[in-house]
């Protein structure tokens, strides 16, 4: 059964030390709840970016909450590089599992299907491969002459996403952003913040049903209006480019970052 909780309660349900799956900025990122995780002093996270990270990931790194980062990239988009990420890399403050977007999807797909690995094209000859114990080069069992990369399943303990809408039964509308659906399918638990809650079951409308994450995957829902801010929410609202720029400037120094997260209000 899906629990309906307050955002504060949801933040308490995500423990330090877990493997936390996060969606990209503007497509399911929940920076509003991430701010609450930072405020309560969460630590030692293994963050899985599905498949890339942005402002919410940079904030977690800046707050010292991340011990391992598994990602294909971290960037603030039009606002440029991710300052806390870059600083942490330079200082060796985080363990880095650098990847490539389709390998993240392949690993999540393996977890979704309950198999230990997934084969994937490309990658051979990339220096990424030398640094990943969880990727191997195998022979195609049907054609020994061909080499192919296999990647281990990626199963987050918890995934945290933001979505436009849930119904009061726990079904969540994701629409065509099915990589967020994949992340939820692959994770042991999924926590969702939403803009609004529908009294009518979202599964009743056949036109919507294919874009709905069913409640059986959803452990908890919290209503958090504007929870994607200052990044955007796909097909709902664009990112607040000025605010992300402001963050990018502030976070260039550790002191500036602390002043920014200390001074910022909630998502509302």
């Amino acid at each position: 059964m899906t629990k309906f909780v307050t955002p504060q309660a949801m933040a308490e349900m995500i423990p330090s030390g877990c493997k936390l799956g996060l969606a990209p900025d503007d497509y399911g990122a929940s920076p509003g709840l991430v701010r609450m995780l930072i405020d309560r002093g969460i630590r030692d996270l293994h963050v899985v970016c599905a498949p890339i990270g942005g402002m919410q990931v940079d904030m977690l790194i800046g707050a010292g909450a991340v011990s391992t980062l598994e990602t294909s990239a971290v960037s603030l988009g039009e606002a440029g590089g991710a300052p806390c990420f870059n600083r942490a890399v330079r200082e060796g403050a985080i363990r880095l599992l650098d990847g490539t977007c389709p390998a993240v999807f392949a690993g999540l797909t393996a977890a979704e299907k309950g198999v230990p690995f997934m084969p994937i094209r490309g990658i051979i000859g990339s220096d990424l491969l030398k640094r990943r114990d969880d990727w191997k080069v195998a022979s195609n069992p049907f054609d020994e002459a061909e080499k192919i990369v296999v990647v281990s399943a990626i199963q987050p303990d918890i995934s945290l996403i933001h979505a436009p809408e849930a119904d009061r039964f726990g079904n969540v509308r994701l629409g065509r952003r099915r990589e967020v659906m994949l992340l939820a399918h692959a994770s042991k638990k999924t926590f969702v913040t939403v803009e609004r809650i529908s009294e009518v079951s979202l599964l009743e409308d056949e036109k919507l049903a294919a874009g709905i994450l069913p409640a059986m995957y959803v452990s908890a829902v919290a209503q958090l209006e504007n929870g994607g801010w200052p990044t955007g929410l796909y097909a709902e609202y664009p990112r607040d480019g000025g605010e992300v720029e402001k963050y990018a400037k502030a976070a260039r120094s550790a002191e500036g970052f602390r002043a920014y997260v200390g001074g910022l209000g909630g998502a509302a």
């Binding site: 990602t71 590089g81 890399v89 650098d98 490539t100 490309g122 000859g125 220096d127």
Partner: protein, 248 residues
């Protein structure tokens, strides 16, 4: 009007020329110029009554028809349903290797870039990968990259249908010979000569003393860029579009 064409408009037009003949082109995140070039190709084809071009602009609601999420791009590429894509890179070397990770020793790169995105996969699968890097310097175009995000070539044991097609910078256009694993200087943008290119390129390449000038867009193309393309870009790249010259 050609005299007043900006450097960026020349690049947008050149990208559209490099895409000539493709049926499906995808453009990654944070890539306003490639997006503009792909949109221009679509507009030029429509004006000429040619076959419509499928655009998949990541980050766009209007110019992207994928319904299976971000993973669909990669599935399309592996099946051969995608003809062209763009890669940037903090460093690009003379063998076509690209580095999107950082300088110096990994992992504690003194200069860190965002990361490899889909490069380590798409470079193998998309037939026409256009390397686009505005900065033309010995810092960006190097003899050997510090980190290989994606290799320019592979041996025959690796499934490889794609790779580098061209390298476009703010100063010149190169083609890539996959057998020789070398770039060839094809044309130089107005305002530069072959000596400029030689001294600002960190790797060796063929046709060093190139005399060909990169063609400029005519006035009709230029007004398409300043009108329709600028408008189409606004959805995903409002800041970039606002800095472009508008219609007369």
């Amino acid at each position: 009007m050609s005299q007043s064409c900006t450097g960026r408009e020349l690049l947008i037009y050149t990208i559209a020329r490099l895409l000539n003949g493709v049926q499906h082109v995808a453009v990654g995140q944070s890539s306003p110029m490639p997006a503009a070039g792909a949109m221009l190709l679509r507009a030029m084809n429509q004006d000429a009554g040619k076959e419509d071009v499928q655009l998949s602009i990541l980050g766009s609601v209007k110019h992207n028809s994928f319904t299976s999420g971000a993973g669909e791009l990669f599935d399309c590429a592996a099946q051969g349903r995608l003809d062209a894509f763009f890669l940037g890179g903090g460093q690009i070397d003379g063998q076509g290797n690209v580095n999107l990770v950082g300088t110096g020793d990994y992992p504690n790169s003194p200069v860190r870039w965002p990361g490899s995105f889909g490069s380590a996969y798409l470079y193998f699968l998309v037939p026409r990968v256009i390397l686009f890097r505005e900065e033309h310097s010995v810092r960006s175009l190097v003899e050997r990259v510090d980190f290989v995000s994606a290799p320019g070539a592979s041996d025959e044991t690796v499934y490889r249908k794609g790779g580098p097609h061209a390298l476009l910078t703010n100063a010149a256009l190169f083609s890539f010979d996959r057998d020789a694993r070398r770039f060839r200087l094809e044309s130089i943008h107005p305002g530069f000569d072959w000596r400029d290119i030689r001294t600002t390129t960190g790797f060796s390449y063929d046709n060093e003393k190139c005399e060909t000038t990169t063609p400029l867009p005519d006035s009709k193309v230029l007004s398409t860029i300043r009108g329709r393309i600028r408008e189409e870009l606004h959805e995903c790249y409002p800041q970039f579009a606002a800095r472009m010259p508008g219609p007369d």
